[in-house]
Assembly symmetry: C2
Homo-oligomer: 550 residues x 2
């Protein structure tokens, strides 16, 4: 039906990724770091390799023109972009598939689809860019439904209105990052929200999952950019009023932001825009001691200078991305503004950096295009290319994954040590080989950082899923035991649900069930996500259904 | 029982307020502005003037030591601090009274009180500082309850823990602003949250009502300072995890922030602190054209300079507070920092001010203590004294009140004109005399200001409540019709409920009822507030029960 050129088994479009030289270099470097792979590499999967079950449900005549059961469409909507997704695709291990994919062309189409699904007990999976790395779009809904329809919002991709005075735009939820930016750029604006998934994720997905942009401080979360939001629920349409701020009761927007499709389908939002930055400066700073660097970042984050970039990448991760020899952690510090030169800001920030012994070359600071040069530039390139690495390592049985959290500063040193150890120990224990675990900060707050952990391990194609699951469970347990959040910006999905349930207050869970009972009384929306009590009673779905949970 | 020296009929403590000279000056100036008062001035009310009904319910033995039905205590907990409250007190017009006032000394006491109330169908009114100006603490709960107990949290007034590294503190909800600041000051911190009610309002009240601090931009709302919150509900205790940021589902904190006691009693919270500012600069800037000044503020608010003060006070309000002759609007612009001199920030801000024709004297900027001098200082003094004015004007039949909202910038000019006109027209129509209506901005956002309107009118002691109600309804209607929020930081309470119901999506109201059904299944918590569906079915309570609502 819709020719989505998206790879169903990995990140990006078909034909996109690393060239032969890049992938060989990556594979060789991984072999050096983790040991050579064992067994035969898996081949790239084809649609024909999969024996999709016959759809349990078909669309009514009135909606048939929006729907397809094409096998490729079904595969694209069966797998997210997590390690487990890529691994299962390479192994031709088919998770649950949607029976139907619908591509609504209007909000009314969405409402009609929900009305039909609600009447027929068909589960509805909202789908933005499909970039979930936590089982967010996997249609693992259990046995209680007549079928599953995935509602892919890609055709609702327009910026409908731009308010030049208040710097806001009314935007359809299905638009991807680049198309969104392209539509507002002629007016001099940017949403300035750049999650790593930017190219293949949508506005609606960002809102539904509380996406974090890649800016380090102050306004970076999608939460802060939403001025109002419109959602089609099985009970009807809910739209909040456009307001710059309000103190009238609990925020209606904050109920929808992070709801992961459990209450309805976000169709559009008024989003706060920014002027395109005119002034930019960025610099890479080395630290011989990771925790000293973290102290510097803490001071910076408490200074109210609000750097736009303030990352910390530990020494091993810095080396892994080709920006060092492993002896120094890297801080990437940047300021930008559409209004004013940022010299005074950077000057003060560098005074703080000096206080903590940061090492840097001022020449990089003043160079034109400095934010794309030097260590900071190397980091930026690695950041953009990273999502493509996985598909070249997974077929050889290498596990590579990331997880992210946040924690207050006073607990960070112990937290960091415990998470690093728990993950490394789990890798060694389950695979029999030492792995690599690294840490960076993606966001910093006055009261704590958002640490992002990357790990890689040598396994085999046959065992890699079981190994990954055991490591994932161990890392998630460690995060929960050390009082972090199970996700800072990747969302909960199905994979994080067991720890989300431990993290949130039971009464909040009950409160969200109360919300669900009003907005989605028959429980057709994204079953298993966030609030579905059945998950607690019947066991977790998706990857976690096969995990050995503590 | 507890000797609260608080005036039950007005703002502040007994004995506090204006001296004879100040009040005579105020009265004379008001007479010049609005015309001399008619009729006999009302006398200051005494407890003995009120014939309180016999309490319908008494405490069980186990809770008796926490409770009182002392008449003065009951009066203090019968009236908030709105115009209507002061007027009714002077007129000896007693609104609903609580049967009991409980002063819990621990969280367990709160839990025990709720358990008893839940079992006996007694309505529970949480009470912080009692500074509500919108019927938030008035026990107008209808006829469906065995009685009403007001739970006054004043004894839970301790800072329990300070985290020096993450700059956060665990604080009991009953603490008032000054006591809170006094307890964290020795550690070099401030919560830096200064609502106008600061002296007589509590942390729990700020959280429950989504209080706005008096800082103009970026982190100023209590919403942003809450790191985690703990609430006793009839269904049990709900506490969120301390996290600097999280993307795990809808925010549990944001459900409680703004819930106005409808779900439970907030007992404590981890709050983000700030270092005490070391660098401060502030200046008053005149503008001959209000809307030109608003344009300047819009540009400032979109500059990401994040001024700590960025108010705009229209020409009439500037004159009323003694800082001008009525020919110029006043912008109060300030920066402060605990970390760095703010020269570069102020310099760029003044360039923007220059672009819009702002008039100012640079000498004030550099003067020591400049934030307390000049027009900015005059405004600051008026701001702090203003809550005391009302009790000296109300007995003479003068109406003075304020209301506040927010609106996006592109709609502001028309919005402002419509609200000013609707309010002025209503005053003239109902009182027969022209009144005064002025406007200032209390907060500014990149996408819009928070306009704060003040009005005063000449009425008579006999008619002032009816007159006020008609003006209040007209102003509220105008705000709603022009798509503003019915409150930006004063809260909803009972007085704003009819327009809150129009403002929020019906499905959000339903969702909040779903929450209520889980956290407060028997509906004992602050009936009539925010989510109580009975209000829609049975009519509004409090002042609005006598209003002629459109």
């Amino acid at each position: 039906m819709t020719e989505r050129p998206m790879k169903f088994w990995s990140w990006g479009l078909e034909g996109e990724g690393l060239d032969a030289e890049e992938s060989n270099t990556l594979l060789a470097a991984t072999g050096v770091a983790l040991g050579s792979s064992e067994g035969t590499a898996l081949s790239v999967p084809n649609v024909e390799d999969f024996d999709l079950p016959i759809p349990k449900v078909g669309p009514p005549d009135t909606l048939a023109h929006l729907c397809t059961s094409d096998p490729k469409d079904r595969l694209i909507h069966s797998y997210g972009k997590s390690f487990a997704d890529v691994a299962r695709a390479y192994l031709r291990d088919l998770p649950c598939s949607p029976d139907l994919i619908a591509y609504p062309e209007s909000e009314q189409d969405v409402a009609n689809l929900l009305e039909w699904a609600d009447g027929e007990n068909v589960a509805v999976m909202p789908f933005g860019g499909g970039s979930s790395v936590c089982g967010g779009i996997e249609p693992a809904v259990g046995d209680g439904y007549a079928g599953v329809v995935t509602v892919d919002m890609m055709k609702l991709d327009k910026v409908l209105e731009i308010d030049d005075i208040s710097r806001a735009a009314r935007i359809q939820a299905g638009v991807y990052g680049p198309a969104l930016e392209a539509q507002i750029k002629p007016s001099g604006y940017t949403l300035r929200h750049f999650p790593q998934s930017f190219e293949y994720s949508s506005l609606g997905g960002w809102i539904a999952t509380r996406s974090g942009g890649h800016y380090a401080s102050v306004y970076t979360h999608i939460d802060d950019f939403v001025e109002s939001v419109r959602t089609v629920t099985p009970a009807g349409i809910m739209e909040s009023r456009r307001l710059p701020g309000s103190g009238a009761g609990p925020s209606p927007d904050r109920l929808i932001i992070g709801s992961e499709g459990a209450f309805g389908v976000i169709t559009e939002a008024w989003m706060r825009l920014q002027h395109k930055p005119k002034f930019q400066s960025s610099i890479g700073i080395g630290f011989t001691n990771f925790h000293k660097a973290a102290e510097a970042i803490r001071t910076l984050s408490q200074s109210a200078l609000f750097p736009t970039n303030c990352r910390l990448i530990d020494a091993n991760e810095t080396r892994n991305m080709g920006a060092g020899d492993g002896s120094m952690s890297l801080m990437v510090l940047g300021f930008e503004s559409a209004d004013h030169p940022t010299d005074a800001w950077m000057a003060r920030a560098l005074e703080i950096v000096d206080d903590y012994g940061g090492i840097y070359d001022r020449d990089f600071l003043t160079a034109e295009g400095s934010n794309k040069a030097g260590a900071a530039g190397a980091w930026r390139n690695a950041f953009i290319r990273a999502p493509f690495f996985r598909e070249f390592l997974v077929p050889h049985g290498y596990i590579m994954d990331t997880f992210e959290t946040s924690i207050t500063w006073e607990r960070f040193p112990v937290f960091h040590a415990n998470i690093m150890k728990a993950t490394a120990d789990a890798i060694l224990e389950v695979t029999g080989h030492p792995g690599i675990v690294t840490c960076r900060f993606t966001h910093v707050y006055p009261d704590g950082p958002a640490p992002y952990f990357s790990f890689s391990a040598r396994s085999t194609p046959e065992k890699m899923i079981d190994h990954w699951l055991a490591i994932k469970v161990a890392a998630s347990e460690a995060i929960n035991a050390n009082a972090g959040t199970i996700t800072h910006h990747h969302a909960v999905g199905r994979d994080h649900r067991p720890w989300y349930d431990k993290q949130i207050p039971d009464l909040f869970s009950s409160a969200m069930q109360g919300v669900k009972s009003r907005l989605d009384p028959n429980g057709i929306m994204n079953p298993g996500i966030i609030v579905d009590p059945a998950n607690r009673e019947l066991g977790y779905q998706g990857m976690m259904s096969t995990a050995s949970l503590p």
